[in-house]
Subunit: 215 residues, 2 copies
DNA sequence: ATCGCTCTACCCAGTACTGGGTAGAGCGGT
DNA sequence: ACCGCTCTACCCAGTACTGGGTAGAGCGAT
């Protein structure tokens, strides 16, 4: 994929310092070509539309439109482009949201230069790259909070999956050939066991735990 | 991490052929040691408990307990172990669910041997590894279905975020100092715009689009 | 046999959401 | 000025969910 054509890359970051630092670093590599820099999303989109870069290196903390929302904007402007997020934060929320919204990678600003290069190469080749630190963060919670499976019975899990998928008690009752009252009882039990009170919470848990495929 | 101690690995797959094939392949590598094989989850858990392998290579399609559910079982049996999923399927559901449930990697059964080795090394070193094919699958949907942002106003997005986080209409009304009726109106508008009918669907969409951090 | 658990099912009262309206205030564009 | 949109707010009737019970059938374990 990067046979001899250099990887074209657009940098979007509202910190001029970072922008120039990155440009300086990247330009020392022959196989990477910085096709533009922008301090805001809007100008960035225009450059992207004009130059269709292989990669957009996107800062996550930007005024007005944040980096997360910008992912979709860049992808709809140039569908072929792949997004590599750049952030100072290793917060789970940002990382997860980036992945969900379609970023191909996420690296922290304090990683060594060669890791940034590696990330760019990997993403340009069609892969995904997440800093070691990032992977750790993503895995962290699982180990402490979620080591034990949900304390639900098989039937309860099954019903939770339906409910979280957007089915009403009645829907589930019909699907499983049970009384609505039974589904309501299961729903109550699930919520009591999990300490929840609303359907929205129920849905979140189910999605987090992978009971419901994210469509 | 793998200074000189070999990487210990447990293979769990209900296909004897795959099991033996893998064992044969892996045993040609000096730095990898297969500490056991199991055709089912239960026996696998016992071996895991006794030998605390660095990695459990887990087939996703198994009778009785499926691979996805097995992830948590292995992690709770041996918290230090890392899970590498092995699958014939590149379905989004399986992949996402594996990640969510705590797997450190996901490779397809038809990848070349050296990629399996690379995956094992990466995961043993504390990283994550997903086959190139897998990354593609994860990214696929975004490009076609979700290119355009949600057709909601700023206020609607804000309210959707609260609702999906598990707040009731009344909660949100209090938080934003608005009438409950207003929140209900917004909720109706959001659902109409998005073509939804239940709170659970609302929540799913919000989580998918990253409006709500997955906790 | 008896205990505990699960799954099923119902009762009740209260609260919340659903889906159909309408409508005024404010703002930006033509 | 007028249009369109957003945000606010209310009305209504119907449906669904919430949270508190109870309870029988079946099953596996002691």
């Amino acid at each position: 994929m990067n046979g001899d054509r250099p990887i074209s890359i657009l940098l979007v970051d509202n910190h001029a310092l970072v922008l120039e630092g990155l440009r300086a670093v990247l330009e020392t590599y022959a196989h990477i070509r910085v096709v533009g820099t922008a301090a805001m999303v809007q100008p960035g989109l225009e450059i992207a539309a004009a130059s269709a870069p292989d990669i957009v290196l996107l800062d996550i903390n930007m005024p007005q439109i944040n980096g997360i929302d910008a992912i979709e904007l860049f992808k709809s402007t140039v569908p072929s482009t792949r997004i590599l997020m750049l952030s100072m934060h290793d917060s789970r929320e940002y990382i997860s949201a980036s992945i969900v919204r379609g970023a191909s990678g996420y690296i922290l600003k304090d990683v060594p230069n060669d890791e940034i290069i590696k990330a760019i190469e990997t993403v340009a080749a069609g892969g995904t790259y997440f800093s070691t630190g990032v992977s750790d963060v993503l895995m962290q919670r699982r180990q402490k909070e979620e080591t034990e499976p949900l304390p639900l019975t098989v039937r309860e899990r099954e019903i939770l999956a339906f409910l979280a998928a957007g089915r009403s008690n009645r829907d589930v009752a019909e699907l499983l050939q049970l009384s609505v009252a039974t589904i309501e009882t299961h729903r109550k039990t699930i919520k009591r066991k999990l300490g929840l009170s609303t359907t929205a919470e129920l849905t979140r848990i189910a999605i987090e735990r992978g009971l419901v495929p994210p469509r």
